[in-house]
Symmetry: C2
């Protein structure tokens, strides 16, 4: 469906886009990076990835400050924070070839629908990233653990779309870059499964100002995590996506085993940046309410995060003013 | 009932005991301070109060490191953090004269009952402090705003005890020290009323790492505060203590007007010290559960604070090791 070799546009070169984009380029694929505040640095010095799988440096990357200057690509990877998605209607039509697809690498619910409104629902895919990585400076990504992605097709009517040819093709590109790829026949199930982790850990790490390993050492916090996971599972079940006890136990187990990690929301709190409350909390809460599923713990966590964000905004943090495409 | 002039033992010379004890001594009353880590400093240099009502310095105070060395006093004011109340069974019998009474100046529910178990239920009173003050160093108290106390008799069967002679007498002592005193015929009502403020603000200020003025500038946080206040009011109502809408509105109004303030629980979080979760949260939650009153927001807030405390404890903060009688 999509010609080979496929070209990639990477929108935002932070912890996620910087890592996957650099790995694709290192594997020989054509990658074009749309950058904002890091543009000058990356254009001159390229991208460095410090990775548990081996460090590498890309001296030359195709860096752009404006989508207008970019070539039309076969695949556009949206790797912004969702709080910046309002810039996408300007960008996506410019960077996508006529048959191109857009893949959101972002967390939360309902993002594919937003993208479909821009490019059409048959040109949208979602990728769930299971990665611990952080941008430690301009063009500088630290990859701490994991790295797999789960790729699936957007379905406007929520009926699983199965595994398509282009999923396989794009999956092969990522595999050629050493990325572990799972093809998800049911993207919505994958989204809810990811939320089972994101909803408790993003919020509690931000609110309690603790990384995952500190959370896992507090019996009270682990108890909260588990109860919140069950709230998410019940909301998912109301949307015909079954999340088992075993799945939840596995999440707890792997979080306990993984390197100490600060989810992006905790870093956002520290830096005074907007947090992804809308896509990670408000939309799942809305989806639960549609089916009369109460999520009291999730609800309060969301309200605390909103309070935190209002407090941070009122403080008028300097870092917030420097918020950029890459963050 | 109690001879005049009355002598006072002040247990703990932190933000509360340091302020009220110093004011009583300044007014000419006999005051004996039981200190721990600040003992040496206070014995040599006395106590300084930087106050909105005028700074003053007491060069000489009766300072003790051990209750064994103290004279028996007519009134013992317990001004410790409740997290240190386990040391009181050793202390109170030594510092109280045969007719002496103990007054807890602490926050939360059920403390009088604990003290009654030590000295007998007819020798216990409670004082609610409406004060913004902070210990800024050894023997150094900063008084930021307010300062009134509400004094009442402990009632083991929860029936209001009315205004007693000794309440009037002790009230007069505090008034002579320029402290505004209200005599509460129903101590339990006063306790619940105080909790209407403490439960939302202590917890949210600690969790959101924000002082009262920052909380009041966040519409989402104010909404949370109000809902938590209503949870407390419903629990109080189930114990026949009526807290009106007007009272809640008044609390919100006066918090908005007061100087920015960090409740002790927020400072405890910052310093890695134990927080008063048991008396301010767990006991009111228990009282609510006894009457089948749900307090979902309060409940989650308590669980988050417990998580926070476990996380802080695991960090093995240096400050915690220095936790002392005065804190």
């Amino acid at each position: 469906m999509i010609p080979m070799p496929r070209s990639y546009a990477v929108i935002g070169a932070g912890a996620v886009g910087g890592f996957y984009g650099a790995r694709l380029q290192k594997a020989g694929l054509e990658v074009h990076f749309l950058l904002h505040s890091d543009y000058e640095y990356v254009r001159r010095h390229g991208i460095t990835v410090e990775s548990v799988e081996g460090d590498f440096h890309l001296r030359h990357v195709h860096a752009y400050r404006s989508a207008t200057d970019m070539p039309a690509c076969d695949v556009a990877c949206v790797c912004l924070k969702t709080t910046q998605n309002h810039i996408l209607p300007e960008i996506l039509p410019r960077v996508l070839s006529p048959d191109g697809v857009v893949i959101t690498f972002q967390n939360g619910l309902g993002i594919e629908g937003d993208l479909a409104a821009i490019v059409g629902s048959d040109r949208v895919m979602g990728a769930l990233c299971f990665i611990c990585s952080v941008k430690i400076g301009a063009g500088r990504i630290r990859h701490l653990d994991y790295g797999a992605i789960k790729l699936g097709e957007y379905s406007p009517d929520s009926v699983p779309r199965g595994v398509t040819t282009r999923m396989k093709q794009i999956g092969e590109d990522f595999r050629s870059a050493g990325i572990s790829v799972e093809l998800a026949a049911d993207l919505l199930l994958a989204r809810w499964q990811k939320l089972v982790w994101n909803i408790p850990f993003n919020g509690l790490c931000a609110i309690l100002d603790a990384d995952t390993s500190r959370i896992m050492k507090s019996p009270s916090a682990v108890q909260l995590v588990q109860e919140i996971m069950h709230e998410v599972a019940e909301a998912a079940a109301a949307h015909d996506r079954i999340i088992t006890e075993e799945f939840i136990r596995g999440m707890i187990y792997s979080t306990r085993k993984m390197a100490p990690y600060s989810p992006s929301m905790k870093l956002d709190r520290e830096k005074g940046r907007p947090m992804e409350i809308e896509t990670i909390y408000r939309r799942p809460l809305h989806a639960a309410r549609e089916r009369n599923v109460p999520m009291p713990l999730t609800q309060l966590l969301a309200r605390e995060l909103e309070s935190l964000e209002e407090i941070i905004r009122a403080q008028g943090s300097q870092e917030r003013k420097e918020a950029s495409l890459e963050e």
